[in-house]
């Protein structure tokens, strides 16, 4: 369905164009039809920038410098600006973390959804309004008829996110990119939105690219997982492969350091140090500076992604040579 290969997006460095700093560095991703792929990583790892690159919405002066983004075989990076505009919000829709900043505060939410529908399809206002009402019912907005006339500030955070989802679904996209869709929401509301996204995905058979930092959300929603660290994908595979049998030391470290999984009386196993910011990424394996099992080679050359099981890839020298301390985290 969607195939991202060697995607590299960079920003000019302090000394200008000559020294561009990559924020996404040769990412490969693949999303099959009807599949939920979670792209997980800590802040600054490039996961949101990957999503924006797929949508060709990288803020200036950032730029996609190489790679390809193929949607059903066609490279989106070669599309004209107007053709890309039809893809955005058409075949690929996106929802964001903070629904308040994505909705126009001075326009009624019904009108905003109607506008989105009519941008992509030549339908009458009343037909679009009817469709909007159906969507509001579908995303579980209580009292949908009255909510059409509500302004964003009159809705709670959970309802605003439901409106955003309705708008994203209005053009029947084949792929929904959800960038931290529940991070700003309370836990009981988060549970409702996760359930809604899962149900809609099944009903409509669409694919979801879920961007998140939260491994618990990944576990709840994803079919497959890609773990990103310092601009690169370091591990990918099915949900159970990556979460139950992680092979990359970074994935293992992340899972171990989660308080929800740790026994209360024991010290949390921490990953030492901090995530290096773009521009200060080490040579070789980027995780080497924080890795407890690194060898000399890790500092010198970049590890390739190797298959450790069917469909389960990890980019680590020790995995390559079979020296890493095994699966179970």
């Amino acid at each position: 369905m969607l195939e991202v290969a060697g995607l590299t997006t960079s920003f000019p460095g302090e000394s200008g164009e000559a020294a561009r700093i990559p924020v996404v560095d040769g990412s490969d991703l693949e999303i099959a039809g009807g599949e939920v792929l979670a792209l997980v990583g800590e802040s600054g790892c490039g996961k949101s920038m990957t999503a924006l690159s797929i949508m060709r919405l990288v803020p200036k002066p950032g730029r996609i410098v190489s790679g390809s983004v193929r949607l059903e075989g066609r490279d989106l990076l070669e599309f004209s600006v107007s053709a890309m505009r039809q893809v955005r919000g058409g075949e690929i829709s996106m929802i964001f973390q903070e629904p308040m900043t994505s909705l126009n505060p001075v326009t009624r939410v019904g009108d905003q959804v109607v506008e989105a529908i009519r941008l992509h399809e030549p339908v009458s206002r009343s037909a679009a309004l009817e469709r909007c009402l159906e969507l509001f019912v579908q995303v579980g907005i209580p009292d949908p008829q009255a909510r059409l006339r509500a302004f964003p500030h009159e809705l709670s955070g959970g309802l605003k996110q439901r409106v955003m989802i309705a708008m994203a679904l209005s053009t029947r996209p084949s792929i929904l990119i959800a960038d931290e869709p529940t991070t700003a929401l309370d836990v009981t509301i988060q549970a409702q939105i996760i359930r809604l996204l899962r149900d809609l995905q099944r009903e409509l058979g669409m694919s979801i690219l879920l961007i998140t930092h939260d491994l618990a959300i990944v576990n709840e929603m994803a079919d497959r997982v890609a773990v990103m660290y310092a601009g690169r994908i370091v591990e990918s595979g099915s949900r159970l492969d990556v979460l139950a049998r992680p092979r990359h030391p970074y994935t293992q470290g992340l899972l171990r350091s989660m308080p929800a999984l740790a026994p209360p009386d024991e010290r949390l196993p921490e990953i030492p140090g901090v995530v290096p910011p773009p521009g200060q990424w080490p040579d070789g394996c980027r995780f080497a500076t924080r890795c407890s099992i690194q060898v000399e080679e890790c500092r010198r050359c970049v590890p390739e992604m190797v298959a450790v099981a069917d469909g389960h890839l990890a980019g680590c020298h020790l995995v390559e040579t079979g020296q890493e301390p095994g699966g179970e985290a």
Binding site: E42, S43, P142, S156, G158, L159, D186, V187, T188, I189, Q190, A191, Q192, I194, R195, H213, D214, L215, A216, I217, N219, E220, R239, L240, L243, A244, G253, L254, L255, S257, M258, P259, A260, L261, A262, P264, R267, L268, P269, E270, I271, P272, V274, V275
Partner: protein
């Protein structure tokens, strides 16, 4: 209410009420109240961690700020080390301010960007007369930075030169600078990435062991609570609906809201995914809370009585529960909302 522990607690809050007036019109008449915190009881024994949990708008932050006397309190007693802080004049309160410190969620917003780290940490010492000379205070700042695992040589830098996790360490060093006995941590690890969060949680645990600190941990993150708290108090719309030892609350929640909250936490265990969302709807506004039990609009076990009458806190063994359905030996609704689904 609950006996015994009350006398030994470092901090003991009784019937705390913090309401904010809603004023309107030419004469700024009070036309209503935002009932942020209504009649909460809470004990924090010395050297322990008590978590105050709830969703946004439940009043947990206001409760923390009220305890530090940063908000005007309407009613109740805040007893710290045997002294009711509400009865003290601002001058009399000063020595207690030193003993109670706070660490906020966003370290960048709580550090002065134009002040060097050394001055930020030493400021509190100066106002409380800790350290006779500047040099002595600088010495102490160096020790504090070492204690929170930062390089003392960095004390002459500014906040923007540090990462988020390092800034939170600086905020912790600032809190420690005046030798507090209680630190209120208001979502202190919520903004941090999970690998950094683990570092800060370990640091807080080490400091508690070394210095015998008590923490009032205000958070919405139940994973963190389960890992670190000795006791938990769950807040909903300004009230504590259930409190007790962490292990008991997590293994057998009694109040329907606690049950719903725990069932809503996404599971990080690859062997298990959660089932249907436990409760529907949104939290009502604290300026017009529903009559009767405040949770009745979302409660799956609501009865006629819940709509009319407000349940009072009831002690059950080591727990306090605010629900009509809670009775000794039997939960409000055993296993409610615990539905599971195998992947």
């Amino acid at each position: 209410m609950n006996s015994g522990s009350r006398d030994s607690a470092l901090l003991s809050v009784e019937g705390l009420r913090t309401w904010f007036p809603i004023r309107q019109g030419l004469f700024r008449r009070t036309v209503g109240w935002v009932q942020a915190v209504t009649d909460i009881d809470l004990d924090v024994p010395a050297g322990t961690t008590v978590a105050l949990v709830g969703e946004s708008g439940c009043g947990k932050t206001t409760a923390g700020r009220s305890i530090l006397r940063l908000e005007q309190v309407q009613a109740g007693r805040i007893v710290f080390d045997g002294v009711d802080l509400c009865a003290l004049s601002p001058a009399e309160l000063l020595p207690y301010r030193r003993q109670m410190q706070i660490v906020f969620q966003d370290p960048m917003a709580s550090l002065n960007p134009r002040m060097r780290i050394r001055d930020t940490i030493a400021e509190g010492m100066r106002s409380f007369g800790i350290g006779a000379t500047n040099a002595e205070r600088t010495q102490r700042v160096a020790h504090l930075l070492e204690r929170v695992q930062l390089d003392p040589m960095q004390m002459w830098r500014y906040p923007h030169e540090f990462s988020g996790g390092q800034r939170q360490r600086i905020c912790i060093a600032r809190a420690l600078a005046v030798d507090p006995r209680l630190i209120v941590c208001d979502e202190a690890v919520s903004a941090l990435d999970v690998s950094i969060q683990a570092q800060i949680l370990n640091l807080l645990a080490d400091l508690q062991d070394e210095l015998g600190l008590a923490y009032l941990f205000i958070t919405h993150d139940l994973g963190v609570v389960r890992y670190l708290a000795d006791r938990v108090a769950v807040m909903y719309l300004g009230q504590i609906v259930e409190s007790g030892p962490t292990e008991q609350i997590f293994s057998s929640p009694q109040h329907p809201y606690t049950q719903a909250l725990l069932a809503a936490v996404p599971s990080a265990d690859p062997g298990r995914r959660s089932g249907a969302p436990p409760v529907s709807g949104d939290v009502p506004s604290p300026s017009s809370p529903p009559p009767g039990c405040r949770f009745h609009t979302r409660c799956p076990h609501v009865t006629e009585r819940c709509r009319r009458e407000m349940p009072q806190p009831v002690s059950l063994d080591d727990r306090v529960i605010r629900c009509f359905l809670a009775s000794p030996g039997g939960g409000a609704a055993e296993g409610a909302g615990q539905g599971g689904e195998n992947p």
